[in-house]
Subunit: 356 residues, 2 copies
DNA sequence: GAAACGATGACAACCGATTGCCAAATGTTG
DNA sequence: CAACATTTGGCAATCGGTTGTCATCGTTTC
């Protein structure tokens, strides 16, 4: 009969050995605290998460021990057993777009304040990456904030059925959304240009898959018809500074005297290109951007733009998502939030050139 | 005698009930696959992670079942049992600083390519937040990338003993680091200014806790002595665009004709302020920035700056960290990487004004 | 044809917490 | 002082994987 020669070790004995071997201090667990206080692990767990369920004196002992051991709960284990991960995914189409910097900052601040972790994912403007990231996050996050989604309405709805979602700048019935009201700013911008005497105006469109671009164009076209001016649509252009060159050339070629760009990146790119071509802004051509991103105020000339409360939009999206996650707090969660915008006039717009 | 009236349910039975109740499809687990293939869960686990340990036919069956069930491993469970989280923490002092946008982009891209998740944390320029974030990440990440750390050398070393760390722009013996070689670019910038005839030059310093700022100043002071020109240190200034106003005023007041700013944010802020005060750049005052961030090329005038390969630095940091995590790959991991920089001359520097 | 062997897959412990259930301890009341 | 209500805290199952150990099976070699 074979006798086990390897002695059976208790968990703490093995841990102690591992510690000794590695020479590094092993993070404390609730079991360590339990052993130190002479109570069960479950009691420790309760003392820390449901303080009322535990005698105040026991709780004090446990808290002291936890402090002494420098205890931090293991978030993985917590997530596994409780089902809540304490993380929120934030999907952006392009990390390098400054628009999202402000957004990310807003979500980051608000999430941290609520004790959540932000999982930042760059979907590279691809609907496939977006969909697979969502599937991935479904397990590792409690909710998702999706900005400028490239997915179809159906796909978004289906995803929202699996995990709480809040969209930003993408309005789909049934999915809570934060929408920055750039369409209404668009007509403000149009009126601004009209008041400066412009009658031939172009809209430099964003990606075809961008709902924002479509909505802005619709609003702009409607307003133009209402005011009896001509606005033509050019593009599409990728929302990057480099696209500005093509946009500028297209605008010049079309003979307009003013243009409204899908976003500030394109507008700033246009400014650079126009300068290269010695076309003066705003004397020869007025340019309006959108979003008021970092840089819009110090480019040359400073950019007239439709300012969006970007960071605030991020914060609101987080609030809406957290309200969805913890319905206990009385405040009935709204499902749609419209963020106001306004036109900020700087140096890139001016009177229309008199007929040459 | 009390008989249990509640029937004991197997795991799958309960899951099925939960599915029915929630009306939503529950993510598949290895147990589902195991049941479907008539093998043990452990076999499924091996088939997916150690394919060689499993018969090729069994493996094929398992893979087919996994695909059919649309199986995705639960990262929490994986992390808990294996000890590896598949996540890397990235600590930045200020998310809104465009310098870090490029950095974050670099880390994000490289991490994603390696199948890791990025946990982004804003430490708000606080050493305490930085320390507590590290303690937190110790459990939830496999490694940490720390940019421009505000911690003491000892604290960093201690942290590095607990979890793999790579620093960026912070050199501590014993901690792998990526260092952007701005000090050497600093003397390039100085020579550039000297060649333009400047003899009275100021360095607009960054935060006192920034090692980068100190190193740049040291390099600059040494080079200045070597060339026999006067360079005075002004500041410190917070690395934000708003600080540029104070910096500009200080520079003007000190009577210098050129200044080298700690970073582009300060430099751009200075340009704005100088313009407000009708001080011409570069005719009355030359300005050199550092980093070549987004915006440096289109501000007014375009900024002469010491260009840093920021995104690349992020990628290298990730590579170094991953090499540390997976030592299997032969390439001996370097512990220090110096990123070259160069001076990019644009419009913000020009000949020194002739004596008035 | 038997012994030795490698490949294969099942069993079960484990990671670090949460949580339902129940027993013991405590306090309250008549 | 007994009976009952209420805390309080322990036990054990569970989350979804990973991994060490071991039994089994088919194959190879002498």
């Amino acid at each position: 009969m074979a006798i086990r020669t390897v002695p059976v070790l208790s968990r703490s004995e093995r841990n102690a050995m591992a510690m000794q071997a590695a020479g590094t201090e092993r993070p404390a667990t609730i079991h360590d605290i339990a052993a130190m206080c002479g109570v069960a692990a479950s009691t420790v767990s309760r003392a820390l998460s449901t303080p009322d369920r535990v005698n105040i004196r026991t709780r004090a002992r446990i808290e002291a021990a936890a402090a002494e051991l420098n205890y931090t709960p293991n978030s993985q284990a917590k997530a596994l057993s409780s089902g809540r991960t304490g993380a929120v995914g934030v999907l952006v189409p392009d990390i390098t777009n400054p628009f999202y910097f402000d957004l990310i900052r807003g979500t980051q601040l608000q999430l941290k304040a609520a004790g959540y972790t932000q999982l930042l994912v760059d979907t590279e403007e691809s609907d496939e990456v977006e969909a697979s990231s969502m599937e991935q996050l479904r397990k590792s996050a409690d909710g998702i904030i999706v900005t400028a989604s490239r997915l179809s309405d159906e796909a978004l709805l289906a995803a929202a059925a699996k995990i709480p979602i809040v969209t930003i700048n993408r309005d789909v019935a049934g999915v809570p959304a934060v929408v920055i009201d750039t369409p209404s700013a668009t007509s403000q911008a149009l009126d601004h240009l009209i008041s400066l005497g412009h009658t031939h105006i172009a809209y430099m469109a964003g990606p075809l898959t961008s709902q924002s671009s479509t909505l802005r164009w619709n609003a702009l076209a409607a307003a133009a018809e209402d005011r009896g001016v001509e606005v033509r649509r050019l593009g599409p252009f990728a929302p990057k500074k480099q696209s500005g060159a093509a946009a500028a050339d297209a605008a010049v070629h079309s003979g307009v005297t003013a243009c409204i760009a899908f976003n500030d990146l394109i507008a700033i790119g246009m400014l650079q290109r126009l300068r290269e071509r010695s076309i003066r802004v705003p004397e020869d051509m007025s340019v309006v951007g959108c979003d008021d991103i970092f840089g819009a105020d110090f480019c040359n000339p400073p950019l007239t733009t439709m300012a969006s409360p970007i960071e605030q939009a991020g914060r609101v999206a987080v609030s809406m998502l957290l309200a969805q996650l913890n319905p206990l707090a009385g405040g009935g969660s709204r499902s749609r939030s419209l963020m106001p915008t306004h036109l900020t006039v700087r140096g890139s717009t001016g009177p229309a050139p008199t007929a040459s």
